[in-house]
Amino acid sequence: MNQFLAYTVVGVVAGCIYAITAAGLVVTYTTTGIFNFAHGAVGMVSAFAYWQLSSADAIGPLSFHLSQPVAALVVIFVMAPLFGAAVEWVLMRPLRGASLDVTLTVTLGLLLLLLGLAVVLWDPTKPRIIYPFFRGASVTIFGVVVTEHQLVVVAAAAAVAIFLRLFLYRTRTGTALRAVVDNPELTALAGASPERFGQLGWAIGSMLAALAGVLLAAIVSPLDATTLTLLVINGFAAAMVGRLRNLPLTFIGGIALGLTEAYLVGYLPVGAFLSQVKPTVPMVFLFIVLIILPERRIAGRTVSPRAPRVAGLWESLIAGGVLVGLALVIGPTLSKSNLQTASHGVVLGVIMLSLVLLVGYGGQVSLCQMTFAGLGAFAMGQVANGASWWGVLAAVGLAAVVGAIIALPALRLRGLYLALATLAFAQAMDTGFFLNEHTFGISGSLNVGRVQLPGISLDSDQTFFVFLTVIFALVAIGLLALRRGSYGRRLRALADSPAASATVGMNLTATKLTVFAISAGLAGLGGALYGQQQGLVGEPDFQLLLSLTLVLLAVVWGIRTMTGMLVAGLLFAFFPVIQSHFPALRDLLYLGTGLAAIGIGRNPNGIFGGNTPLQRRRDKRAAQAAAASIVVASSDDQSEAARAAR
């Protein structure tokens, strides 16, 4: 019994940390209607700012050597709200009314940008220590020693939940804040300024992120940008228990998550499963919560950007031929290392093509494509010593089957919930599968050989590069053919209006299942090629942050375009090469991708997504023709009506 009580105390303390991170997410969502994926990153930057203001070791701007409590107050009540208000003004205000894809991309972009900025501003090789409040002081509860800093966390979590609930539901300002999200036009008619309240919402959300960052700083110390940012992802599960609206339920969700972790680690038998369980629990918890949430009605029409024109068969065949021809011409001129990097880029392009089908055409958000690629690479490496066409088949098959299985519970999810479910899946697979010593072998990396074509050896990097571009071209041509056909129209309908699609008798379940399976299979094929190109694969190749970066780059370059995927893949591959010329920027991949992604609000179709002058002229001509036909039709109708009247 004593042991049970001890684990309970541990669980409640951990749960309060989850609750406090989740509360900020809920408040931002309640007051702005936007799920802020960058919430953890704002908390992380706040923790670094807190160190900068208070530490005796800090040098440079803002190193005022304030006492810790004063620094905490400055960060939470001055810097964070200003930052939140600025983010709303610069980034979020132009997104009012934008689709979920756009807001999701921008907040994910902000996350990567802040991560990249943090490592530029605070050299990660220097340890930055933050000591807890009331250092050394503690109390004993049921045999467990709890520090006073932990008690502060518990008190803060409870106070935040109670205070915010009262503020949002018992005050005029709070009611106005919520009203702005529900109906900004109506609220404006009542005299409230949607912009001002939106800004207030972001300011409060940032304050809560900063509060979490400051309190977590001493727990994470020495400060680490990635750990601080990812810690908040664990809070997503708690936020979902409260359905992103209900703070008391969010608090209960946090505690439930903390207790689940403590009891599992405390009581599960010692062994491999115990090792996997703790880091996986928050993600499995999130997945389960998403699935068992009360079902929402099928979404109606969504605002999605105008799709670019789909190339015809001959056009795509010619483009594919040109691409392969270019590979044949350019390949021999590249140095061996550039050839390898270009091959890597084409492989990433193939993986990104899987996003075109799922996200671009089907409107289903996925943040786990590198996980499917990892499954493909794993299958490729395991079957027939890793250099067989059976391996390629196994790669596609395994990824497709897992994709379909993931689609099953996700069938009733879309938008944000689907994004969170796929994120949870990616993170759980990383900690539970890819990091398992049996997956990539005792050395942590799995050797993958190259397949051979009849009469053609693919051992030479040059030939393999051409082979990869042929695969890319074939997949792209296939996807375009799919898009032009009835299945493509069904996908478009699914993306535009699931409710309307269901009304006209379309089988949403079959369409969703197949699109998930095909997309995952394509990513699996990409994974098999990834392994063949690199020669070996391991866990670091398939981490969650890579999946996020991949999606963002795909959106930035035009997620419905084949050219966009090729360019995005090549850029992703050449980032480290570019990085080597700018060592001071330390993490150009995150900085560059983040910066580009937050600019997507101004161009939701992406760079190749239909904004070229030629396409604009075509669109204009098409619009004029459509308008003219409407006028003609309308005048015909009027004449008909007049005749009927006579």
Binding site: A14, Y131, V270, S337, T341
Partner: protein, 417 residues
Amino acid sequence: MRRIRFRRLAATCVVVALVVGLSAQMGADAAVRRQTNTASDVGITPTQITLGNVVTLTGPIPGLFKGSQAGTDAYFKYINSLGGVNKRKLVMKSADDALNCNQNQTQTEDLVGSVFAFVGSFAVFDNCGAKVFAQNPNVADVHYLLSDDANKEVNGFSPQPAPPGFRTGPYQYYKQKYPDAVKKVGSLFASTSPTTWANQKAAEESLGYKILYERAVAPTETDWTTDIIRMKNLGVQFWDLRNQNASFVAKMLSEAAQQNFHPQVVITNSEYDASFFKLIPDPTAANGVLTDQPFAMFLGEDAKNVPEVKLFQTWMKKTHSDVTPDLFAMYSWASAALFVDALKAAGQNPTRAGLIAALKNIHSFDDNGMVAPADVGNKKPPACWMLLKVDNGKFVRVLPKSKGYTCKPTGYYYAKS
């Protein structure tokens, strides 16, 4: 007749003298040529030798092996200050793999055609670069080989070879000294390196240790109170904290002290770090923690007794005052020293093949006491080690007391691949 004989004799003498003189001159010329530096192979000129180096400097964990680059550079600058090797300056061409497998491979590929050898690289993805070395077996790769693939390189040489497995000498010592505690082992190991723990665990179990509790810890975890309560209840007396980074060790020790968990023995291999006592709010929480390691106390404690440690400290400060000397810097310094030893042995105008032959011929390398002696040529791990403990905010030598390493007991558990 006699006159004719005399003339013949005289002519013969003149010819002999000429032949002897000519030969002597030719020999002298050859000797002079031998003493002259030539561009004897790729990356070598009469005045300098260019060496490659691939390190992780940017990417998801920026600055991960910054110390390693500094360590190699510091050693080369030290050698250059002495006039170089055979009057050739050592020049380092460094590349960053950005913690990316493909980039590691391509950077290695880029350098392999222009450098004489690779020295002091440090990268998690050295298995990716290993593919390039397999295709270029005449290019030596001298660095602390991390991955299994890199360890298998025929042209790869580590100052301390570490084949898959784990040294058992220290574990035998602990068993002799704490026979009861080793029957009650608990471990919290890093989830990112399950292989290391698997080898370590196998090594422990091969000696009769009994593992009561083990759990992989993810890099994002911040609290281990449940584990500590559980280990306390299970009666764990030997807490193996090897295979964790210094900040996690500091946090785990603090939590253990907070929960009054005081096992008889706590061992680790990562607390010996310049930042350790900054990381742990109450340094006494680490009192008595043991670290066995196959290298000297390079942070400075051994500087009096091991001149190489003093040299390392001096040149790190002189050339990279912004970089705190760490394990990676020390190993890369030792790698550079190993390379220079082999380069000297390879002759005045060394070739790539000559360098590899010289490296294969080194059977006891210890960098003047900086690392425990190892048979580099035969790729055998060091048999000796030293033991230190934490004592009120200081690292103190336990075994051997003054300097050097102990080789008794010794042993190595080789993992089945």
